[in-house]
Amino acid sequence: MWKLILRRFLIMIPQLILMTILLFALAKMMPGDPFTGRFSAHTDIHTLLRLRREAGLDDPWPTQYFRWINNIFHGNLGNSFVLQKPVATLLGQRIQNTVWLGLLSLGLVYTIGIPTAVASATHEGSFRDRFWTTYNSITGGIPAFVIYIFMLFLFGFTLNWFPTTGSVSIDANGFWPVLGSRFYHLILPALSVALFSTVSLFNTLRTSLLDARSADYVRTARAKGVSNKRVFWRHIFRNSMLPVASTFGFDLVGIFSGAVILETVFGYPGMGRLFVQSITTRDYTTMNAIMLFSGTLTLIGSMLNDIIMSWVDPRIRIK
């Protein structure tokens, strides 16, 4: 097992290096540099050139690349030259918001997805089954941002049930009111994600439940005289949850990749919204840091995925 984790970790390193090279190339393709926005028309061009040289922007690319990597390892992601703040501090605040939103949506996806998949699989071919299967294939295919806008329009603006922007109300003071207000702001975006992204969980669980029904161990359990209910929950359901568990890593990562559009629609100050804001202001340092962060996270997620998968299914380990 440890050998596998180590091997999987070693595979991650070249991928990470390739990704940093891509992001570095993108950063170099972007117009402007950290000094572009900082000076007015009266600034002496020679001062500008001297500052550029001192910051190492005239060095050859490889040198700059390794300096950038070195800085990242020291927790220095550079300065946002638009907001005049270290990018690390900017990100810190936003990541928290995104993580809370993501965890709540993921929790809701599981609470909606698992019961519906069980209901579908236990009544295969019934109206209930066809309804949920169709529901999932439609919701899984329609563009998310249109759904978010409809949800915001209906529950936010028309019915006034939920706040329409931000992550916390300004009036909230004290620990509990702030916590309550934060949660209240999370509900609508999280619900919008959860209602419309159960498709992969639903399909995986439904298929594996249906497959498990005819497995040998189920027949053995039945032959022993185990009650139907017990066969289902103790044998079929538990085994069918394994493929679901193994996609947990990717589900976690999906939170961050979906954040760009989700947070833009709901005006939620998380990482995705910060990304869109930094594109608008051409704040390339921040953009790059966010991309590096979510790319690294995806790598870790896919590693987690493989490890969980081989942990729950020893056959993969041997291969």
Partner: protein
Amino acid sequence: MAKAKKIEQSESQAHAHSFLKAAVREFKRDKIAMISFFFLVIVVFGVFIGSMFIPRDAFSNVDIMDTNLAPFTNGHILGTDDGGRDEFLLVVIAARNSLSISIPVTIVIMAVGIFLGLMSAYYGGFFDWIWMRITDYLSIVPTLMILLTLLTIINNYSIWTLVWVISLFSWIGSMRFFRALTFAERENDYVKASKLSGSSSLAIMWKQIFPNLSSQFYAQTALAFAGNIGLETGISYLGYGLPYTTPSLGTLVNKATDPEVMTQSPWMWLPASFLILALSVSLIFIGQALRRVADQRQSLA
């Protein structure tokens, strides 16, 4: 040799014929898929033919006497926007622009996907290994963010630039799909028999394996098309698709970011949103019906 070729040809014709027949049967049985199909055909042809009759300056023409009109006033069926432009004409133009990106993207990614998928699975070995590493790599990078970054770096682009940039990250799904199918198909006896009788690899891939995957190909195309409409309108919604003078359906939905427009004049964004939804839902129904046809044919074969 000539005879063999003739047999091959008539076989592939029979194949196409039976697919069409099976598809027609399935669509007759599934009324929703049938309605979706006609809706899609009407929208696509209506939008492309209709936009030919719209004067080129319909978008730049600002009419300050008719701004913010509600639907069905002064002869504007869907009302007008803040510049007095007719919403209905805008939706038609926007739908045409959206489709003229998502259709080429679908064609490109399906062509690349089937080509690389077939080759990769058929040849295997190093060729397969290298392409799998490339797709692995592209699936871990934050695609949407890199796409948006690329679109800000390239500051002067046309419809075609947009098509290539979107395609650059979207072919992975279809390539993996066809690779998996080809892997299963490759093990069949007819492939081995054909190889033994001396057919070239290219002939086996394109004249024998590909026709057997063709029904899956059509189903996947419909679903990929739905996905690409979503991707393109999503990018335009964020404001990074085509320039403002060539609006996409996403650009029209973007008006809803202004809370006042969202609540007070929903006719400015609702029709475009509904059209996006209707297009993707009908494509999903079509794709599913085609997939059922493909599965039936697979079980028959």
